[in-house]
Subunit: 223 residues, 2 copies
C-alpha cells in the first residue's frame, strides 16, 4: 500500500468546505472530521473503527500531521486508500484546511467509497476554526486529560456533534470524575452525543460503530 | 498576503520578546515558558513547583488559557501574584505572545521577584513559534500521550531546553516505552534535558526543583 504525500497545495479557498460538502452529497459519502489533543488515542481509535467498519463499508482516510507519516503507516495494514497531509510542508500549520481535503478527495475513487475519516492535526484549538465540509465533527478526549477541557476549549466542544471519551480502561488508576467532565461538557454543548470507549481494550466501541454505521446508511438512503 | 501578515506578527513578537528579556535581565528575574498539550498536567506540576520553590524564592505566575480562569484559581492558594490571560478576549488565540507577557510583567513588582512561571496555552504547535523572552522553554509531556510526539511536533521539542516527562506513576498501567520516547526525542534535540516526574505522587520533583533553583541562583549571581 503506497502512502501518498500531498505536496502541491493551493491557497485556502473560502468555498472549499461547501464544495467538499456538495461533492460528498452527490456521491453519498459520509465524512467524519476527527479532532483531539496530541496523544488522545485518535489513531488507535481510527484503527479499531476501520477494523470494524471495513467489513461492511468502503473507507478512505486522510491523515493530518505536522510532520511524519507515522499515523498513515499504522493504518496501512487495512489496505484502504490513505492520504497523508504533512502540514510542515505548508509552514507547519496546526490544522487541516478544506481546500486540502478537496484536493485529496478528488483523487479518491468516489464511486467506490462510503466513508471518509479525516484524522486532523493533534490540537484542541485551531482545527475547531476550520470546517472541512464533513458530516460529523468528532472530538476525542482521553480521561488522562482532566475534566476541564470543554470549559477551556469551548469552540472545539461547542462545534462538535460527537465526543468520544477514550482510555476509560485507565479510570481505576486516575482521580477522574466523569460526572464533572459531563457537567463541563453540557454547559458548552448540551446536544453533543457522548461515547465512552477504550480503543485499547475495545470496551464501548460497538455502540460507536453502530452510531457511525447508522449515519452512513442514512446518507446512502436519503440523498 | 497571509504569509506577509504572519511574518509581521512573528517579527513584532520577536521585538517584544527581546524587550521582555532585557527587562528580566536588568531585574535578575528567571522566567520559564511552560508548554504542553492540553491535559499533560502543567497546572498540577506548577502547583507542586511553586509549593517547593516559594520557600526560598519570590514567584509570580502568568497563566495562558483560551477561556476560563480555572488554572489561576487552582494556584491562588499560594498567595503569589498571578495574571490570567484569557486569549479568547483576543480572538481565541492558540498561544501567548510576548507583547502580552510584557504588559503583565510591567504590572508585577519586579524588584521583589526571583522567578516568573508562564503556563502557556495547552497546545503543542503554535506556542513553539512564539518566543516570549524567557530563560527556559520547558515542554511537559505526559506518558499517556504516546512515544511519537517529539517526531510529530519537532519545533516544540527542538526549541525547548527542558522536557518534563509527567505522570510516570501511570507507567505500570500503559504499554509505553520510555526508551522509544527518548530515541525520538534525541533525534530532534540531542541536547534537551529530561526530568521524569509524577506531579501527582511527587516522584522525581526534587531533581527538577534543584535544576530550577540552580538556574535562578545563577541568574541572580551573574548579571
Amino acid at each position: 500500500m503506497e502512502i501518498k504525500v500531498l505536496t502541491d497545495i493551493l491557497a485556502a479557498n473560502k468555498n472549499a468546505a461547501a464544495e467538499v460538502k456538495s461533492i460528498l452529497k452527490g456521491k453519498k459519502i459520509y465524512m467524519i472530521d476527527m479532532m483531539s489533543s496530541p496523544g488522545s488515542g485518535k489513531t488507535t481509535l481510527n484503527d479499531r473503527l476501520i477494523e470494524a467498519l471495513k467489513k461492511k463499508y468502503r473507507i478512505a482516510v486522510i491523515e493530518g500531521d505536522i510532520k511524519t507519516t507515522k499515523d498513515a503507516e499504522r493504518l496501512a495494514r487495512h489496505n484502504i486508500p490513505i492520504f497523508q497531509i504533512e502540514t510542515d510542508r505548508f509552514g507547519g500549520d496546526c490544522h487541516l484546511e478544506s481546500s486540502w481535503i478537496k484536493r485529496c478527495i478528488e483523487q479518491f475513487d468516489l464511486d467506490n467509497l462510503d466513508l471518509i475519516i479525516v484524522e486532523n492535526v493533534g490540537n484542541l484549538v485551531c482545527p475547531a476554526e476550520f470546517q472541512l465540509g464533513d458530516d460529523e465533527r468528532m472530538v476525542v478526549l482521553s480521561v488522562t486529560e482532566g475534566e476541564d477541557k470543554p470549559a477551556k476549549y469551548p469552540l472545539m466542544f461547542n462545534t462538535s456533534g460527537t465526543m468520544v471519551l477514550n482510555k476509560i480502561d485507565l479510570l481505576p488508576h486516575l482521580d477522574y470524575s466523569v460526572d464533572e467532565l459531563m457537567d463541563n461538557l453540557k454547559k458548552v454543548n448540551p446536544h453533543i452525543r457522548v461515547f465512552q470507549v477504550s480503543a485499547k481494550t475495545g470496551e464501548g466501541l460497538d455502540t460507536l460503530v453502530a452510531h457511525i454505521s447508522g449515519n452512513i446508511d442514512k446518507k446512502k438512503n436519503n440523498a
